[in-house]
Symmetry: C2
Subunit: 165 residues, 2 copies
């Protein structure tokens, strides 16, 4: 299967939330996301890695407009599940390479990471699937990040699209 890169998407309309040090026990993720869903908060990208010493962080993005509504829920949930704390940060950008067949082309993600590395851009979060490689970087770096990835994959200008939540 050929890897077909169809474009780059970038989005600075979202903020990120990190719930710090949640206990790694069944039911914790459900207790975090159920009240947010019931309130209609449009959670987008969720990333949680394996725990160390029984605790881990849960990260997610949401539209900046939803942040004010989400904050009281986050405070309550953080106490209920016994997390260490919660931080929010509206100054992020999500940059994604979109395509197909990435699963069998390991070089695609490596090329994207190389392009950002050569430009000195730090990758804060990585989340991939077989059709998409997404990186979270500082919002101030989104133009540079899109340009170096665009050049690395020799894409046309139409291939770059801005996403909004």
């Amino acid at each position: 299967e050929q890897a077909i890169i169809s474009g780059i998407a970038h989005d600075t309309s979202e903020a990120k939330v990190t719930i710090l040090g949640v206990p790694d026990q069944p039911g914790v993720a459900a207790r975090v996301f159920r009240p947010l869903a019931d309130e209609g908060v449009n959670v987008d990208m969720i990333v949680q890695n394996a725990s160390a010493e029984g605790r881990t962080d849960i990260f997610f993005t949401l539209p900046k407009d939803d942040l004010r509504r989400a904050e009281p829920i986050l405070k309550r949930v953080t106490e209920q599940v016994g997390a260490r704390g919660v931080t929010t940060d509206p100054h992020i950008a999500k940059v994604s390479l979109v395509g197909a067949g990435m699963k069998t082309h390991p070089g695609v993600a490596a090329d994207m990471f190389d392009a950002l590395a050569d430009e000195g851009i730090n990758i804060e979060i990585i989340s991939t699937s077989s059709i998409r490689v997404s990186c979270v970087v500082r919002a101030t770096e989104v133009q540079r990040a899109v340009r170096v990835i665009h050049d690395r994959f020799a894409l046309s200008t139409e291939a770059v699209r801005r996403e909004m939540h």
Copy 2:
């Protein structure tokens, strides 16, 4: 946009690798994935969360068959980037809810987490996009996990499919 759940995919053909405590500096992800790509290791899902105190873990999955080829590269890369260590674990299952329009239906991920919570199944890793919610659980729990999600979303039997890398 209506959330359309098209099915559940499950995959126990992969192992997971966690590179522990990598420095959070530009270029580190490139130095981890470039040699794996050059060796033709079929890295699948990559998950990296934000760092704490300047270090973070990088997690990824790969076909169990690629593990033997990847191990010498992982050992060298771990030393080169100054990571604390690397662990591998072949006993995982990836269970994914596949659909469309999830970005604007926050209840979908919460329902999946609820179904696993009610069954006492611990979620080790979470990675989502607008068309997929993926959870890593113990391989021994994959049948139960697929059954409770299938029931929660009242899907047909044809909607369950086994993925292989």
